[in-house]
């Protein structure tokens, strides 16, 4: 997790999407995925993923918070006193999360009712603090934003995949659309296990299994 801070000094006038920068976005999607490899942000992966729609909102919110907090902390990285840096990060993240919550309350009240508890918990989502501590404190703003975007996308696709299977087998729907009914299998029993957090653990386990078979990643 701390390897990124040791990046080589940046060459002047680097392309906006140079190879090195692409790595920030692409790495967290698979090889350095926050959930499946770094095992961060598991709590929210379990809690919100019973349906696709709230999961989507959660994914977008976390990604926004990640990008913005990475940007802000990176901009302030030279003036943040190192002894209070954690609390400064926390304050920035908490402010951003509160903003997300307020915006949802104003413009997507139904989502706010459903998600407000979980939105508040983005503050404690280890991915956010983890990226700030490991990356934003030691890198330039633009790179930090890319890193936030990458981690956010890595988090998003995992929880969306989990939500897809949980909603499909737990409620027989995808994005609220009754799939099994549409293909004439409306008497198919749904699996109650899938709507409980246990289902999320199982789906997550399968994803990690498949991913590690492909990448050959081994815990040390």
């Amino acid at each position: 997790m701390s390897t990124e801070t040791l990046e080589k000094p940046i060459v002047k006038k680097e392309a906006i999407f140079s190879k090195r920068r692409k790595k920030f976005v692409i790495d967290p999607l698979s090889d350095d995925n926050p959930i499946t490899i770094q095992v961060l942000g598991i709590c929210s992966a379990l809690a919100v993923t019973t349906q696709m729609k709230p999961t989507m909102v959660m994914a977008i919110s976390v990604t926004m918070v990640l990008i913005l907090s990475n940007l802000i902390i990176s901009l302030m990285r030279n003036i943040i006193p190192s002894r209070v840096r954690i609390i400064v990060q926390l304050a920035v993240v908490a402010t951003l999360v509160t903003l997300v919550n307020e915006v949802l309350k104003a413009y997507a009240f139904d989502m706010y009712k459903e998600l407000s508890v979980f939105i508040g918990l983005i503050i404690t989502n280890c991915i956010v603090m983890g990226r700030l501590e490991a990356f934003a404190l030691g890198n330039k703003p633009y790179d930090s934003m890319l890193d936030g975007l990458g981690s956010g996308l890595g988090y998003s696709w995992i929880i969306l995949t989990v939500a897809f299977f949980r909603e499909l087998f737990g409620s027989g729907k995808v994005f609220g659309y009754p799939v099994f009914e549409a293909i004439g299998m409306d008497n198919l029993a749904t699996n109650g296990l899938m709507v409980s957090p246990v289902g999320a653990f199982m789906v997550l386990g399968f994803i990690i299994w498949v991913q590690r078979t492909k990448t050959g990643y081994v815990e040390h």
Binding site: I79, P81, S82, V84, V88, V92, K105, A106, G192, V195
Partner: protein, 259 residues
């Protein structure tokens, strides 16, 4: 790099001021929009208790919903004795839509205020009553629409905070709420409310006018719903005895059952 204590304190103070200012600013700017959203949500739920209105709600824009609400709903607030109240304890005017049912629920029944939403569409009259109670895990609440006879249910809408998805949380589905339509809350002129019985797919012989089919695997949530309905229908009897259109006709029948 090790900064001085003064630097750290000044930095923290500035950070706090900036972030605090930002948050209160945003809250000021978004406040009116949030209030509107909340208002719309409450009105949607109230209208949703009437089945004919609920089917239309999905296609309506927020403005249309508010207009429809203003057209068909009139509201008032009653106390435990059934007398109308127009001001709160601070002397401010009391608006039925703004009464916080959850806060009221925490007070003893005698001290609560009870909003009533009267629905009038042509000759069709219904009384929409808010209800609040405890499910299995957390709060449940809803609105019950009674027909003009005050004995049969026109429709219900339920919400919940934390019931188990797929089990107790099914009380929010149309399929479950439709079971209540047309059911009777009185039996032998006594208020019995509508009971959701244990088990699902019960034969018609087990169901009658005051019973609805239950939820498989969610008997405790169903019990919560039953208690909530019985309690709140009871609380409103005093109001109905004094203020409903057929108050006199009902007074004799209901006076024994006011608890």
């Amino acid at each position: 790099m090790r900064q001085s204590n003064t630097y750290i304190i000044v930095f923290s103070l500035i950070l706090t001021a900036v972030l605090g200012g930002l948050l209160s600013g945003v809250s000021q700017v978004l406040g009116p929009t949030q209030k509107k959203a909340q208002d719309l949500d409450t009105k949607k739920q109230i209208l949703g208790a009437i089945p004919a209105e609920k089917t239309k709600l999905g296609d309506m824009s927020p403005e249309e919903i508010l207009a429809r609400y203003a057209e068909v709903i009139s509201s008032e607030v009653a106390d435990y004795e059934g007398n109308l109240v127009t001001t709160n304890e601070k002397g401010e005017p009391l608006v039925a839509e703004n009464v916080n049912i959850e806060k009221n629920y925490k007070k003893p029944a005698e001290e609560r205020v009870y909003p009533v939403f009267k629905y009038r569409n042509g000759n069709e009259v219904a009384y929409i009553l808010p209800t609040y109670g405890a499910g299995l895990w957390d709060a449940i609440w809803g609105f019950v629409a009674l027909n003009e006879d005050l004995e049969t249910i026109k429709g219900v809408t339920f919400s919940h905070k934390g019931e188990t998805p797929g089990l107790g949380a099914r009380i929010t589905t149309d399929e479950v709420q439709e079971r209540y339509q047309g059911k009777s809350i009185v039996e032998n002129q006594e208020l019995v409310s509508v009971t959701m019985i244990k088990g699902e797919g019960n034969p018609p012989s087990k169901l009658d006018d005051t019973k609805v089919d239950g939820l498989a695997g969610a008997t405790l949530t169903a019990n919560g719903v039953n208690a909530m309905l019985l309690n709140y229908l009871g609380y409103y009897q005093a109001y109905f005895n004094k203020h409903s259109a057929n108050a006199n006709a009902n007074a004799d029948a209901m006076s024994m059952n006011n608890q």
